[in-house]
């Protein structure tokens, strides 16, 4: 099995080495072309601006625009400043993108970030942004679903076959328990089940809300994934046992000079774990959003390429097919990434709470064998 995999990797590497020089020259040509194109098309259609506008956080929830008229939901701005205190007002007070207004000494910059007129003023922006609102919707949905399911369990007791939503969720809960928690956490899995289940369903439901047309890119935001990774990292640090810290800071059976090399690497790896966790979820969800938006943007790019928009109409079929395919893929990714985040959290915690028994026994046998 592993031999086959190895061969596969070698083959892949060879192919890449062969293709790479061509790819490089092709890319250069492409960039040159693109530069010319963007100069011409900038005034007409800017795909990157639209895409980044969609995947970034915003202070209003923009649904669609008809000509110059923007249909959007203004969201509350909450700012705490040491000098001015707390100020809460609607984001409509800032005007709209073409015409920004100043309210209470604050306004929005070109990245939709709040800035103060007084540059020296330090303030905290705790606004309910598009992402926060999306998360709140997700949270409310999650609470309604889960509390209803729990109620059904309480009503029916343990010996009635599950039905409805309960039936849909039970295999997922059992999956998290039997395939995520039990194999990685061992006997103490029950303690971490609430955390793992909450992480899994929180990420999953928000991933799926992000896929809805007009939805926010909540789980594709580095702040959110960092927050979730931080939570699992803190749980890991709180629960890590002596054996874990011992192996980390003073690896047994390693000569002293190597320890100087090994311990910093081990400490680094400890911090890389949550960082990788955060970046993995962020990049996967963001990439999904960008791909779908890019495919849809292609219609407009094609329609504005020539004199008539026929190319755009023609491409819309291809684009639609692609985006439907991507939607299904993203639906899968939504669940898979939630599972991966949960599973890796469980694996990291499992490593931190593992008692040394198995390991020590192994070492012991090894010593005996060498003796």
């Amino acid at each position: 099995m592993t031999g086959k995999k190895y061969l596969y990797l070698v083959g892949l590497a060879c192919t890449l080495l062969m293709v790479l020089p061509f790819a490089k020259s092709f890319a250069q040509e492409h960039v040159a072309e693109a530069k010319v194109e963007t100069k011409e098309e900038a005034s007409k259609f800017n795909a990157s601006e639209i895409i980044f506008g969609h995947v970034s956080d915003a202070h209003d929830w923009h649904f669609f625009s008809v000509g110059e008229h923007h249909v959007s939901l203004p969201l509350p701005i909450i700012i705490y400043s040491k000098t001015k205190g707390l100020s809460i007002f609607s984001s409509a007070k800032f005007g709209h993108e073409e015409h920004r207004e100043v309210h209470n000494g604050y306004t929005l910059d070109e990245h939709n970030k709040i800035e103060s007129e007084d540059k020296s003023e330090s303030f905290y922006d705790l606004s309910i942004t598009k992402n926060v609102l999306s998360m709140l919707i997700g949270v409310v949905l999650l609470l309604i679903i889960m509390l209803n399911v729990a109620k059904k369990y309480k009503q029916n007791g343990a010996h009635v076959a599950p039905s409805g939503f309960q039936n849909a969720l039970e295999p997922v809960i059992m999956f998290v328990r039997d395939d995520v928690a039990k194999p990685t956490l061992g006997a103490k899995y029950q303690k971490y089940m609430p955390l793992l289940l909450t992480l899994f369903f929180f990420i999953w439901i928000n991933n799926m809300l992000g896929l809805l047309p007009g939805g926010a890119n909540f789980t594709g935001n580095i702040t959110v994934t960092a927050c979730l990774a931080l939570i699992s990292f803190i749980i890991l640090l709180i629960n890590a046992n002596k054996h874990f810290w011992g192996h980390l800071l003073n690896p047994p059976g390693v000569p002293l000079p190597i320890k100087f090399l090994l311990v910093p690497i081990e400490i680094m790896s400890l911090f890389i774990k949550p960082i990788a966790l955060a970046i993995r979820l962020f990049a996967n969800i963001l990439a999904g959003h960008i791909i779908i938006l890019s495919i849809i943007s292609l219609i407009f790019i094609f329609s504005k390429m020539g004199q008539n928009p026929a190319a755009g109409y023609g491409f819309s079929i291809v684009s639609l097919a692609f985006s439907i395919f991507m939607f299904f893929l993203e639906l899968m990714v939504a669940a898979i990434q939630a599972f991966i985040f949960t599973n890796l959290t469980a694996v990291f915690i499992g490593q931190a709470i593992e008692d040394g028994h198995g390991h020590e026994e192994h070492d012991h046998h090894h010593e005996e064998a060498t003796a």
Binding site: F52, V55, S56, D57, I78, H111, Y124, D125, L126, S127, I128, T129, N131, V132, M135, L136, V139, L142, L143, M146, L147, V149, A150, Y153, K154, G157, A158, H159, E170, I173, M174, R177, Q190, M193, P194, L195, L197, T198, F201, F202, N221, I222, T223, V224, A226, C227, L228, L230, I231, L286
Partner: protein
């Protein structure tokens, strides 16, 4: 690069919301759901165990029943055999008894017959004796009715006595 800059507000709200959701779900959803799942699994395991046990008991009971049936069969055939023997014995006994009774009756009858016969014979003998005496008397009367015949007879008798 704007995408890689963390935002404080979002971080704050995400952390707060996650914590609240975690605490609420932990207490009101995960705990009852996981408990129920565990309970159901142990319930099913117990039910299976009980079923297995009952199955064992059933087969033991069946074996016992068969044993009982076998015993009953044996007893029945033994009883039948005994009854048959008793019947046969009774029949032979009755036959034996009847035979002896019959024999006894026959013997009695024969005895009676013999006795009756003997009595009849005796009577006949007596009758014959009387008859012969009467006949002899009549003959003698007839022969000795004349004096000469009487004399001759006396003479003869005397001769016979003399001769003796």
């Amino acid at each position: 690069m704007e995408l890689l800059k963390p935002a404080l507000g979002l971080f704050f709200w995400a952390l707060l919301a996650f914590m609240i959701v975690f605490l609420i779900l932990k207490k009101f959803a995960w705990k009852p759901i996981l408990n129920m799942l565990n309970e159901r699994e142990t319930g099913i395991a117990n039910a299976l165990q009980t079923a297995e046990k009952v199955k064992g008991e059933m087969s033991a009971m069946k074996a016992e029943n068969e044993q009982l049936m076998k015993q009953a069969h044996e007893e029945r055939s033994a009883m039948l055999k005994e009854a048959k023997e008793i019947k046969e014995k009774m029949i032979t006994d009755a036959k034996e008894l009847a035979k002896t009774e019959a024999n006894k009756i026959i013997l009695d009858a024969q005895d009676q017959i013999n006795r009756s016969k003997m009595a009849a014979i005796t009577e006949v003998k007596n009758e014959i004796g009387l008859l012969s005496v009467a006949v002899a008397e009549k003959i003698l009367r007839n022969q000795l009715s004349q004096d000469s015949a009487q004399d001759a007879y006396v003479k003869k008798l005397t001769e016979e006595i003399k001769m003796n």
